[in-house]
């Protein structure tokens, strides 16, 4: 069991954390609210959609800061990943071609589906029928193919 450290004795986060602290706090509060909400009426699988969506948005935020805007240092980025502010596995997928917009990892887990295929949200809009509205089962994604 890891030692529980007092806040005053904890090591301070790396340089630049104060800049993004507010936004991260917003995400944190949203996530807390989503956790504490009573389960919504309706299909059971939809209960987790909001959690997935917030986690995705937060990971995207960290990813953008480091890779797109180059706003945070490597040190801070690693620290954020280590402290669970972003999903390192998801970000690893975003760096691969064809997965730039991937919504969640569950949607590319072919082994978990009946026909060993990816989720419907991975299908490009061009290959879907006209005006077909989809929302995937695992995270409520409406389409995350790179060509969309």
């Amino acid at each position: 069991m890891p030692p529980i450290r007092n806040a005053s004795k904890r090591k301070p986060p790396p340089e630049g954390f104060e800049d993004i602290e507010d936004q991260l706090l917003i995400f944190q509060n949203k996530m807390k609210d989503a956790h504490n909400k009573p389960p919504p009426t309706g299909p059971k699988h939809q209960a987790q959609w909001e959690i997935f969506q917030i986690a995705h948005a937060r990971s995207r935020y960290v990813y953008d800061l480091y890779y797109e805007k180059e706003a945070i240092s490597k040190k801070l980025y690693d620290w954020l990943l280590k402290n669970g502010y972003a999903d390192a596995m998801l970000i690893a997928k975003w760096k691969k071609q064809g997965y730039e917009k991937l919504c969640c990892l569950r949607c590319v887990q072919t082994k978990e589906t009946n026909f060993n295929s990816t989720c419907v949200c991975r299908v490009p809009k061009a290959q879907l029928k006209e005006e077909q509205e989809i929302q995937c089962v695992s995270c409520g994604c409406r389409g995350c193919a790179s060509s969309d």
Partner: protein, 568 residues
């Protein structure tokens, strides 16, 4: 059913109507369809039971009274059921009528006019006889003025138009007047100009459409006074592509959109300036960046937060970019640049000592009455206490030291402060230093904060006054500041220029919209008019069979008159 109650047959495709059944071999005479021929078809006069007699009578009377009736868009006598014209008419200008003092002649936006008496607070579309002379005079004066101001070729047209207008007014006014008066008027006008061209007449004229109800009824009763009904188009009303496009445009106008914003398909026919807000890509991006700058957006925050806050959405510059994707892209670039800028600035700035805030807190709040643990608990919400860059151990040490010093006599403290001030080099502390920008080295020292500010500040001030000027070589920072000022000034100027362009553009667009609206309403009114005309044309009376003959006769007579007029 014809208005007179007779049944007749109408063939929708060939646009023919007959009184006899079309299946019968007997060739029934069809009511005429061209404009001139069916001229009198509307004049259904119930008391003149024989249509032939009635038409002959009418033709004769009208040939006498109105030589140029063909081009006259009467538009009167539609009855009470007629809808009011849609574009709300409003007074535009007024002229006092000479000779009849309280009365005013008011011109409306649709180029109609009525008289108004402000004393009695009454107004008439029908101009009373006693005002006739004054108004005629006014019109003449206006005509002369126009003729003077415009070129000779223009003059002809204008004269024509004016005359038409005048005539419309006059006929309206003189509904109950004697035929001789009308005749003289008609002759006078015939002399002035023979070339009555109805096409240009359409442009201006909206005659007394709202002739009051009793007048209209009067017209019905003695229709021989006003038999002229317009007859211009024969096509049945049906919606073509152009109509649909027109309606789309009208709807767009109602919602205040430019055609560019809903894309009506015919891009070439958009009026000038209607393609939505048209900026060069670069300008639009720059404007959006200005917007982000102006609202003090935190570049570290997420795009979703920016949109959820919704502050920037109300700004007109928000719509400069059309798509959310483009906006997000610009925001991404902007935040990237902004963060870079911030980093550079921070790198340039010397690092702020974390001790400063804590020492200030100690100076303000610490007292010998509080133990460290109590002090810490009481002020744990203060950022200086929560600051992770200072170690708790150090904070405790400094607190204890400070509290111990507070217990010392003031003389020692003063001596300590003097020693501290003396130890600072002249490059940091000199007679140019102000109290609010003392060097950090001084501020974080324990000896500086241990005296109350009321005692300490005068001491330091007097000490600074005794010091010499700053040594040379300290001017580097100032020059850099000026340079920065120059750069920021340039940026500001560029921004102002762009904003001025935006304002101008908005004004242009608004003006364009207003103009379009006006022309659209005029067009609608005309369209409605035409529709009514067509309806009227469809109602062929019992004497419709006779009308071609009557019209022909009338035409001949007209020709004769023209010849006579030319001869004289």
């Amino acid at each position: 059913m014809a208005p007179t109650g007779h049944k007749y047959y109408y063939h929708a495709e060939s646009k023919q109507s007959t009184y006899t059944r079309p299946g019968l071999p007997v060739p029934a005479p069809t009511p005429p369809q061209d404009a001139s021929a069916s001229f009198y078809q509307y004049s259904a006069v119930p008391n003149l039971s024989d249509p032939r007699v009635a038409n002959a009578y009418l033709a004769q009377l009208n040939a006498q009274n109105r030589p140029a009736q063909g081009s006259h868009r009467g538009g009167r006598g539609g009855g009470d059921s007629r809808p009011r014209p849609q574009p709300v008419d409003k007074p535009r200008s007024k002229v006092a009528i000479p000779g009849c003092e309280p009365w005013i002649l008011v011109y409306t936006r649709c180029d109609r006019r009525f008289v108004y008496n402000p004393v009695k607070n009454t107004s008439y579309w029908r101009i009373p006889e006693k005002l006739m002379a004054g108004i005629l005079e006014l019109d003449k004066a206006r005509l002369r003025e126009k003729a003077m101001s415009e070129g000779p070729d223009q003059k002809e047209n204008d004269k024509n138009k004016e005359k038409e207008k005048e005539k419309g007014e006059d006929t309206a006014a003189a509904a109950s007047e004697s035929g001789s008066r009308l005749q003289s008027l008609g002759l006078e006008e015939a002399d002035r100009d023979q070339a009555d061209d109805s096409s240009e007449y359409e442009e201006v004229e909206v005659t007394d459409d709202e002739a009051d109800g009793d007048e209209a009824r009067e017209d019905d009763n003695n229709d021989d006074e006003h038999p002229s009904k317009r007859q211009r188009t024969e096509e049945p009303v049906e919606f073509s592509e152009a109509d649909i496009a027109f309606q789309l445009q009208a709807m767009g106008e109602q919602y205040g959109l430019d055609p560019g914003e809903y894309d009506d398909g015919n891009r070439d026919e958009w009026p000038e300036g209607a393609e939505g807000v048209r900026f060069s890509e670069e300008d639009a991006r720059a404007l959006f960046r200005d917007l982000l700058d102006d609202f003090n957006i935190n570049p570290y925050n997420a795009w979703e937060k920016l949109i959820e806050d919704g502050r920037i959405i109300d700004d007109p510059r928000y719509t400069v970019l059309n798509t959310m994707k483009a906006r997000k892209e610009v925001w991404q670039d902007w935040s990237k640049d902004k963060i870079k800028e911030i980093r550079e600035r921070r790198a340039k700035e010397e690092k702020k000592d974390p001790r400063l805030a804590y020492m200030a807190l100690l100076h303000e709040k610490a007292s010998p009455k509080l133990f460290w643990a109590e002090f810490k608990r009481r002020y744990r919400k203060e950022p200086a206490i929560a600051d992770p860059h200072l170690k708790d151990k150090d904070r405790e040490k400094w607190y204890r030291e400070h509290v111990n010093r507070l217990k010392m006599p003031q003389a020692t403290l003063k001596a300590d402060l003097a020693a501290l001030l003396k130890s600072l080099p002249p490059s940091l502390l000199n007679n140019k230093t102000r109290l609010d920008q003392l060097p950090t080295q001084l501020l974080v020292d324990m000896r500086y904060i241990s005296l109350p500010a009321a005692v300490r500040d005068p001491l330091i001030e007097t000490y600074i006054r005794t010091l010499g000027p700053p040594p040379d070589g300290a001017g580097g920072g100032g020059a850099g500041g000026e340079e920065e000022d120059e750069a920021s000034r340039k940026a500001r100027e560029a921004k102002e220029r762009r904003e001025r362009a935006l304002r101008e553009h908005e004004r242009n667009v608004a003006e364009q919209k207003k103009r379009q609206q006006r022309s659209l309403e005029m067009g609608r009114a005309r369209l409605r008019e035409e529709q009514r005309e067509i309806e009227r044309a469809m109602q062929v009376g019992k004497e419709g069979l006779q009308s071609p003959l009557a019209a022909l006769r009338e035409k001949e007579k007209e020709k004769e008159r023209d010849l006579e007029g030319g001869a004289s």
